[in-house]
């Protein structure tokens, strides 16, 4: 629907020229893409198994039981154990494990002595140590990152959709609908966000599985935080609406829908884009905060907030949890902030005014 006009192209070029922001953007995007394929790097399932001259690729697909590989149990095969067995029995079978051979949910009680909070151990593959129930901290960080980012992107899209719809309507229609709409937004914005989320999450029925719980948390959060952007959209639309090109469009008989989508939105998009990185940062912080307080994602979903909580309550005895989580959190949020700054600078109307 949108064509990249020369002005936007210039803005993008300017963004690219701001090295710090551009590189941050590349790093963050590649990290996210990597995390989407995280199973290939951090997983308790093997990358490849060769068993009786047959090659298996168990990561994506149905769970394979111990019996499938000649073991005596029906539940999911322990690939690390299998690897040890194949390495020793000389049968010619082999297993290739991912770099970090632990899943985010799996408790590594293979060590008899292990009772939680094992410090980082390069030999065993726990690069960032383990948490209270011997789950790999790195695995939980990675999958926690994936969930937080996905969540943040979903949050961004949803809040913007609502904010754009409400803001454009108020701005474009003006008059009473603007007045009423704005009052509604003001009232709604005064509902305390955190309390509402906490209340709703604590009474939410949980019968429909983790996916449902995550999306309902998303919906609840969006419900109470879309208002902020509405003001900006409304103001931008108001501003643009009174420009001559809109009047011209109206004169030649363009429908309101066409005017909004074809003429107004491309011109207010710069407002949206400058806010986007900060919205992402806000979303990551809120989901982490909620998890920290215990109102976020249902256990045992890997999450940074939950790790932080464990870390803080075991600050002295298991510092590796808090160190790795805080590092990851600060790193991610810094990247996002750099991107945000760069975007803001690139879209700065003082450089490329649309006022002509």
């Amino acid at each position: 629907m949108f064509q990249i006009n020369p002005l936007t192209r210039k803005k993008l070029a300017r963004f690219r020229s701001i090295k710090r922001g551009y590189w941050s953007f590349l790093i963050l995007v590649s990290l996210y893409l990597l995390s989407l394929a995280g199973e290939l790097f951090v997983n308790n399932r093997a990358l490849l198994v060769s068993y009786n001259n047959e090659i298996f690729f168990p990561i994506y697909g149905e769970q394979m039981s111990g019996k499938d590989f000649g073991l005596d149990y029906e539940y999911e095969v322990d690939y690390r154990e299998l690897k040890r067995k194949f390495d020793h029995d000389g049968s010619g079978n082999w297993v290739i494990m991912p770099m970090v051979p632990f899943g985010p949910y799996e408790m590594d009680y293979s060590d008899e002595e292990a009772t939680g909070f094992s410090p980082p151990n390069l030999n065993k593959g726990h690069f960032c140590g383990t948490d209270k129930t011997e789950r790999d901290v790195l695995a939980r960080l990675l999958y926690g990152f994936r969930i937080a980012m996905t969540f943040a992107i979903g949050y961004l899209i949803l809040t913007y959709l609502i904010a754009i719809a409400a803001g454009s309507l108020m701005g474009y229609l003006g008059g009473k609908s603007d007045m009423l709409g704005l009052r509604f937004v003001e009232i709604w914005a005064n509902v305390p966000f955190l309390y509402m989320v906490i209340i709703l999450v604590s009474v939410m029925p949980g019968g429909w599985g983790v996916g449902w719980q995550v999306s309902s948390l998303l919906i609840i959060m969006v419900m109470f935080s879309w208002t902020g952007m509405t003001y900006y959209i409304r103001a931008s639309v108001y501003k643009e609406k009174s420009r001559d090109y809109i009047a011209a469009a109206r004169v030649i008989g363009a429908s309101p829908v066409r005017i909004i989508f074809k003429h107004l939105l491309p011109n207010v998009v710069s407002t949206l884009v400058t806010f986007a990185p900060f919205t992402i940062a806000a979303a990551i912080s809120s989901i982490t905060a909620l998890d920290f307080l215990g109102y976020g994602l249902p256990p045992p979903t890997p999450s940074w907030g939950e790790l932080l909580k464990q870390g803080v309550s075991n600050l002295r005895t298991a510092p590796w949890i808090v160190i790795s989580t805080v590092t990851a959190l600060v790193f991610t949020l810094t990247l996002v902030t750099f991107i945000g700054e760069a975007v803001r600078e690139a879209f700065d109307p003082k450089k490329f005014s649309t006022y002509e």
Binding site: E76, G116, G294, N314
Partner: protein
């Protein structure tokens, strides 16, 4: 407007008449046919007292009374003072009020209170001392051993913490049941008689002797003549009348207490003389003495209750019979409450109290965060800290911690013997798919509590086995909790129709339903336990969906019986035998009463109405269990009670609705070494290190330790890691 004025006058008059009659406690109420002559007074009965009171408050009581007096042209509008008329007591013997005369034991009572007694003549009666049964075997606990140490010394300030500032200093009513109440009530106030924590006997409290009547349900008490409240007033027998007036009052806004101390259970209180009275329980129980051993309610303090109760006593604590007093001036709002030991406490030299309650002051300060409280403890700001949690015991205060090694802090394990809190997974046996017995049994075998005990609790906790562990002989001796066994679980699940594994390893039945169960809990701090159970249950093809809610939200869901499985615990009291009716009787599962909910073959009828807000979280409704529980509740012989308790434990085990989790057979605490304990550390039934207050503070030791800490010296006087195994259950 004019009309309104008249109305006001009317209301003021009625209010005034009401108040003038109860202003002076000596003005006794001529009501309910007591004084038919006084028509004017009888008329007051027809008025809504609450309303009258409200309005009198509005207009000012003094003014209102004066107004009424002038209106009636007399300074003493009602004259029913018969307290001076004491020669006449014989004639009113056996009655609370007879011919307008109040029994001398009750002359101080307010009108409202007397009226309450009169309304329930079957509950409150006064008999002459001659009518006491003669063959009573009075007991005074003299055969019991003291459990405190003679080495105890008085003095010092005991520093403790609470998580939240108390919202009130009342011990009853809304917001009163916070953690702070224990310092006012449970650890402090003296009851009539106390169960001895080292034996099955009792030791005297407010009553210096007691006797169980022939009927087995009436207990006679003789008050200790020394017993008094902290304001110097004596404890009177009538305070035990008043106790029930208080506990049954709607003004205290405590329905649980209203019910618990209701007429159904506490059927009668009889006063004999100034020291002797009896309480009749509804049933002859072997432990009837402790069931009726209530505390005294200071009638002189409350006089009567009204709609202002909550606000009036919000920060105005009642005088106590216990050693420690909370005074309003020692409340630092939001920060701390300091309790002061009474200088001339009446029980100071009594045999079972004399070496207890040793600190001069108890300062209860607010530390909102548990981990922060621990840090405060390590700095010496809190004297003792519970170390039951594994990570605190092993990781945060390990044996080689500097404070322990240097001899400043001790780590104590004390093996006790009490019914443990009933940590268990409670399966709602009416919710599919777990309404199938095979699936429930499979569920039991799929719960890897062994791993939880080994890894999360590092082998310090032990598995609970029956629904009634910790009741001595009443606990079933041989039942064992079903062990974690993938083979058995899978076999049971197959019997229940779930025999194929889906692509994710979870079992599915022929209809394609997955074996997925929601596990609800309100215990966020046990999340890790549930996570281990969840991961292990996957091996047996069972998916657990964890739902961790706020405690109140989880409780509500379970009360509405909306859960599939809930992980929860009920606190158990030190009782002689366990309770089965609340959690397992079908009357607590469905609203239909008794056998009407069963078909002839014993199966449940359809379309029954679930009963909410009961403790039957398992929705157990089995006719045979019902019948046995009914018999059990009626039984009075301990031998038969024991036998039936065993049968019931077995039946509930077979019904497989309750997956026992764990119990800890010990108390573990860390304490600064200036806190000293008796040789055995504490009595057998200690549930809480604060409970019996047998420790004391050695102030010289405190100075010594603080100095040593400053200089970094090592003190080697005491072993700092101590285990007390005297009461260890083998």
């Amino acid at each position: 407007m004019k009309k309104l004025k008249h109305l006001n006058t009317f209301i003021v008059i009625t209010a005034v008449i009401f108040f003038s009659s109860c202003e002076n406690p000596k003005l006794k109420p001529p009501r309910e046919n007591v004084n038919q002559d006084n028509k004017e007074q009888a008329g007051v009965d027809g008025i809504d007292r609450e309303f009258a009171r409200e309005l009198a408050r509005e207009f000012g009581r003094e003014f209102a009374i004066e107004f009424a007096r002038q209106l009636k042209g007399s300074n003493n509008p009602v004259n029913f003072d018969f307290s001076k008329d004491s020669n006449n007591t014989q004639s009113i013997e056996g009655h609370i009020v007879k011919e307008g005369k109040v029994h001398p034991l009750l002359t101080h009572c307010s009108e409202d209170v007397l009226e309450f007694y009169q309304k329930h003549p079957d509950c409150f009666s006064i008999l002459s001392a001659d009518s006491l049964p003669e063959d009573l075997k009075w007991q005074d606990g003299s055969g019991e051993q003291e459990f405190a140490s003679q080495n105890a010394r008085r003095g010092g300030t005991w520093e403790v913490y609470m998580r939240d500032f108390p919202r009130t200093l009342r011990t009853i009513g809304p917001d009163a049941n916070g953690a702070f109440r224990s310092y006012l009530l449970d650890y402090n106030v003296i009851s009539l008689v106390h169960p001895h924590p080292n034996s099955d006997g009792y030791y005297p409290g407010l009553a210096n002797s007691w006797a169980v009547g022939k009927d087995g349900r009436t207990v006679y008490f003789r008050l200790d003549p020394d017993a008094q409240y902290s304001d110097g007033k004596k404890v009177k027998v009538s305070d035990f009348f008043f106790f029930f007036y208080f506990m049954r009052s709607k003004h205290i806004q405590a329905p649980w207490y209203n019910d618990f101390y209701g007429k159904d259970k506490f059927q009668k209180v009889t006063l004999y003389d100034q020291e002797t009275f009896s309480i009749t329980f509804y049933k002859a129980k072997p432990d009837v003495v402790e069931r009726v051993a209530i505390r005294a309610k200071p009638e002189h303090f409350y006089k009567e209750l009204d709609g202002e109760f909550l606000s009036k006593y919000q920060w105005n604590p009642e005088p106590t019979t216990g050693a420690y007093v909370a005074l309003a001036e020692n409340v630092d709002k939001g920060k701390s409450v300091t309790l002061i030991r009474q200088k001339d406490w009446w029980a100071d030299q009594k045999r079972f109290f004399r070496y207890r309650f040793n600190p001069e002051k108890i300062r209860v300060s607010v530390v909102r965060d548990y981990n922060k409280a621990f840090e405060v403890f390590l700095k010496g700001g809190v004297d003792m800290f519970g170390l039951a949690k594994t990570e605190f015991w092993y990781d945060k205060l390990p044996d080689n911690h500097k404070l322990v090694q240097n001899g400043y802090l001790s780590k104590v394990t004390f093996f006790n013997q009490t019914p443990p809190p009933s940590y268990a997974l409670r399966i709602n046996s009416q919710k599919p798919p777990l309404n199938d017995l095979n699936l429930r049994k499979g569920f039991h075998h799929a719960m890897n509590f062994d791993l939880v005990l080994e890894k999360i609790f590092r082998g310090d906790f032990v598995r609970m086995n029956t629904v009634a562990d910790g009741y001595g002989g009443r606990s079933h001796p041989t039942i064992k909790a079903r062990e974690f066994s993938i083979e058995k679980a899978v076999a049971y699940f197959a019997k229940g129709g779930f025999s194929e594994r889906g692509g994710d390893g979870i079992l599915v039945n022929s209809k394609g339903q997955r074996l997925s169960i929601e596990l609800l809990t309100g215990y966020r701090h046990f999340e890790d336990v549930l996570v281990v159970l969840k991961e292990q249950a996957k091996k047996a093809g069972l998916e657990l969906k964890l739902k961790v809610l706020e405690p109140t939200a989880a409780w509500k869901a379970a009360n509405e019986k909306n859960h599939q499985v809930i992980f929860s615990a009920f606190n158990s009291f030190v009782e002689l035998f366990p309770r089965f009716w609340e959690p397992y009787h079908s009357d607590n599962a469905y609203q239909e009463i008794g056998d009407s909910k069963f078909n002839e073959d014993g199966s449940l009828k359809s379309n029954l109405t679930t009963k909410v807000s009961t403790n039957n979280f398992t929705q157990t409704a089995v006719r045979e269990i019902d019948h046995l529980i009914n018999k059990y509740r009626d039984e009075e012989d301990l031998g038969k009670i024991t036998e039936m308790a065993h049968q019931l434990s077995q039946m509930i085990h077979d019904h497989a609705v309750w997956v026992p989790a764990w119990k800890k057979p010990w108390l573990r605490i860390g304490h600064w070494n200036w806190i000293k304990f008796p040789e055995d550390w504490g009595p057998k039934e200690t549930r809480d290190y604060e409970e019996f207050q047998v420790f004391w503070i050695d102030e010289t030791e405190k100075d010594k330790i603080l100095q040593a800490m400053e200089k970094g010296e090592v003190l080697k006087d005491n072993p700092t890691i101590r285990i007390y195994e005297k009461y260890k259950d083998n």
